[in-house]
Amino acid sequence: MLIRRPSDVLPSEITPRDVFLNRRQFMATAAGSALLAGEAVAALKTVPSRYSASEKPNSLKEITSYNNFYEFGTSKEDPAANAGRLKTKPWQIVVEGEAGKPRIFGLEDLLKLAPLEERIYRLRCVEGWSMVIPWVGIPLSSLLKQVAPTGNAKFVSFETLNDPKQMPGLLTRVLDWPYREGLRMDEAMHPLTILAVGLYGEVLPNQNGAPVRLVVPWKYGFKSIKSVVQIRLQAQQPQTSWNQAAPEEYGFYSNVNPAVAHPRWSQASERRIGEFFKRKTLPFNGYADQVASLYQGMDLKKYF
């Protein structure tokens, strides 16, 4: 268990040396390796981002062995154990709905839309734990602009792959599959909202939502939908999985908010993975300066 350390880390020091050196071995041996056996680790060329947090990221082991990804099982270890079955190549994202130029994007098309950026973000899970993760991705806006949203595009909905052959968790009806998420258009276009294709400078491990996932850092983790196959622009607010499962517990917005308790536990504090003491949860997960204006005049207790 670590005691908090100061966060004056240079980007060049982000990957602990031993992690870096052991990575090939780790990738080859650890449960749920991101890659098919025998394939070399794909390093991604990235540019740094001014949106990155200056905190020390969690280790690759922590980020890749403690996951919620119910398509592979409901315990934290399940995704790392079972996500090896997920076939991430080829992969397509259908982008449709209220768009002048709907189209299907292959993964390689995504990589051409914008330079890949490293975004070191805090991630706050609705369960009360948090991490710091060095994602690699592109702004979601760079993809949405490609399809020319119409004036009716008020919301964006997302869907995860729904294939029981690759995802054993789909055999239990713990949620109404496929997993669905959604954002308001301005949230989707916000520069903090990214499509992540990697972490720690390499291709996303399957259990973290390979090959492409959404990351919305000021909202609870479940909003950042994994392994996305469909994006729809639409006029109405989309149905989202957790909201459907328990509407009083998980709102459509689900902005990180220490002042609004989950009905069964407090959200005022969180435990950062790797730390012994809890820390205070920050409004909008510490991104209030960038995103609070999106919710001006909204009652955040009502629209939780």
Binding site: S65, Y70, T74, E127, W129, L175, R264, I273, K278
Partner: protein, 194 residues
Amino acid sequence: MLKLLRNSWLWFAVALVPLLRAVYLLAAGELVNPIEFITRSSGTWTLVFLMLTLSITPLRQLSGWAGWLAYRRMLGLYAFFYACLHLLTYLWLDQFFDWAAIVADILKRPFITLGVLAFTLLIPLALTSTQGMMRRLKRRWGQLHRAIYLIALLGVVHYWWLVKKDLTQPIIYACVLSVLLGWRVYKRLQRQRS
């Protein structure tokens, strides 16, 4: 072999395995979220030992061997032991002894309320678990210790209410408890008919 299996010390040691395993995993640094693990594990073993304690009477009646009874006190006290660990984890590692927050939490969150209630009911049972107390309380001892039915029920509901979505585990405990309590109801009805 049978003699060894009947040795209480053997079972006393076996019942410590979950604790030793947790200590090992902590020391080895294997756990990403060690505090969550201790909380869950201690809760799980509290429930398991409550169920084992409640299994003694049906086992005795089904097997016709009275020797089962020799293990019941130890099992019950182990349930209490793991419950103490569970509560301590909550008070210390979750709340850091912030008593105002703890009281607010107990009042505000039904699953915590039930957990604390179940633990409170366990205390008199642990205190009166000695031979001397059994002798002193006579008939009342049996009446008092029937509180375990309620405690086990509260424990299962406590688990049921804290789970985020996947109810598989609480359902398993609920089924086991239904069988254990159902057996007692069945025996009682049988006795009334005869």
